[in-house]
Symmetry: C2
Subunit: 255 residues, 2 copies
DNA sequence: CGAAAAGTTGATTGTCTTCAAAACTGGTGG
DNA sequence: CCACCAGTTTTGAAGACAATCAACTTTTCG
């Protein structure tokens, strides 16, 4: 099946100025996307994994449910959400992705994407054709293992989300969400206590399995308790330990 | 790393009568675990992926959170649950696995398992040392792709669970769960309308993010509505379309 | 058989959703 | 520059759904 022309993901592409010269070996995000401790020869091979880059405007789709799968994408800049939609209108955000993270793993199993990847701000990604990735990972052990680790990490992350959705209450969910977000941002050189949300309350709610009103109320509650300062999408964490306590303290020892 | 003797998963091992002769090439489950359409030469190589088998008694652990990761496991017989536990006692079942399914993918990322795999009935698994799997998949393209597909399938499955946990109500969750279970059993030659649950109401509840009482009540409701016949763990589906309608019908068109 | 585990059912409570209204934000164009 | 509008966010009140607490039954297994 050719991609549906009524929903051209290409609309969201910015004009590629020129064929952009890309090389992982020079990339400052390499330590996030690629295995460490490679020889110069291996680095040279790795450079062949990424052929091109692609820009996606805010609101645009990197790929959509149903589209043919060809490549994984490494996020260079910007912020994405992935969501699975159901024909009946139900919609679930399955994750938020930022620089250095890999997106598109869902498409491998059936050569077809099974979720939408939407840019929450103007973004640029490295395109990694999956065929080439497989070929080169057959030559570079470290790359093969790296691909396995990335997929395993995603599985483990989703276990965490299942724990969150299956057994936490609204406050615990939001606290865990904020701590996770700020920790990932911190690992990328941003503040450990301040963050700007790239997503709406509704998107947060969809991810956390709660309604946008509940998200908003819970933010307000945290503010009242002196845990956060919230101004629109700008969040400052005033008491990180307090948030951690909310996540970990079982209110009454139940499962 | 040798297995930690303080947490001997080996306790649950049944005595291996002899070194069991194992060969995927003769296995009747091969089509579930392994790629299709292999040459005889490739089949010969694949036979080296599985070195041994291992038995696990009902209630025993195939592996536990924190144990060193060495191998993936293909289930030959029996039924498992995987669950992530938190020190504070919270516990979430992340999946139920049956014959032909692969278990242990969570351990790849940090060379350490991050969940428990517990046998819900006496079981036997094929041990696939991950190192060998990587080596052989470098030689057999189809195997490499197969491993990628297995991991991707798990990611997609978990997306489905997130959708379930994040946006469905109790009845929808249980209906979806039963349909999924019976569909997988049917694919293995069992009835399309009858099944025996291997897990308790509490385990179902943990997986579906609801309490055991709610699981029980929802079963009763389905019985009242003529959708099921339930006797203990023996379930007969009387109206599969009715269950599908419950999953798909949005009660009032919301998200 | 007897004890422990698993399952059912009822009554009550609590959390989150729903519905509703108002305030705020940011971008557009007069 | 300001008014305006759509989208987003906050907050309140009422209601729904599932959790909790509790009692009892049934099943399983040593």
């Amino acid at each position: 099946m050719p991609p549906d022309p009524t929903l051209p993901a290409t609309l969201s592409r910015l004009p590629d100025e020129h064929a952009m010269r890309v090389a992982c070996s020079n990339c400052n995000l390499r330590e996030l996307c690629m295995p460490l401790g490679l020889s110069t020869e291996q680095l040279r091979q790795i450079d062949q994994v990424v052929t091109t880059r692609r820009k996606v405007r805010r609101g645009g789709a990197l790929f959509r449910n149903g589209e043919a799968f060809h490549s994984l994408f490494a996020i260079r800049t910007g912020f994405f959400k992935t969501c699975v939609g159901v024909e009946d209108g139900r919609d679930q955000v399955t994750g938020f992705q930022m620089a250095g993270e890999i997106i598109g793993l869902d498409g491998i199993v059936n050569d077809r994407h099974t979720c939408d990847a939407i840019a929450l701000e103007d973004a640029e990604v490295c395109v990694m054709p999956f065929r080439q990735l497989g070929e080169i990972s057959r030559q570079v052990d470290a790359l093969q293992h790296h691909v396995h680790r990335i997929m395993s990490r995603e599985i483990v992350r989703e276990h965490g989300v299942m724990l969150l959705l299956g057994s936490m209450r609204a406050e615990e969910r939001l606290a865990a969400f904020l701590l996770n977000l700020v920790q990932r941002l911190h690992a990328r050189g941003f503040s450990a206590s301040e963050l700007v949300l790239r997503m709406t309350r509704e998107e947060i709610g969809s991810y956390l399995g709660m309604k946008l009103e509940t998200v908003s109320r819970t933010f307000s509650k945290f503010v009242d308790e002196g845990l956060l300062r919230v101004r629109h999408r700008h969040i400052r964490i005033l008491n990180a330990q307090g948030l951690r306590d909310i996540v970990n303290e079982r209110p009454c020892g139940n499962s």
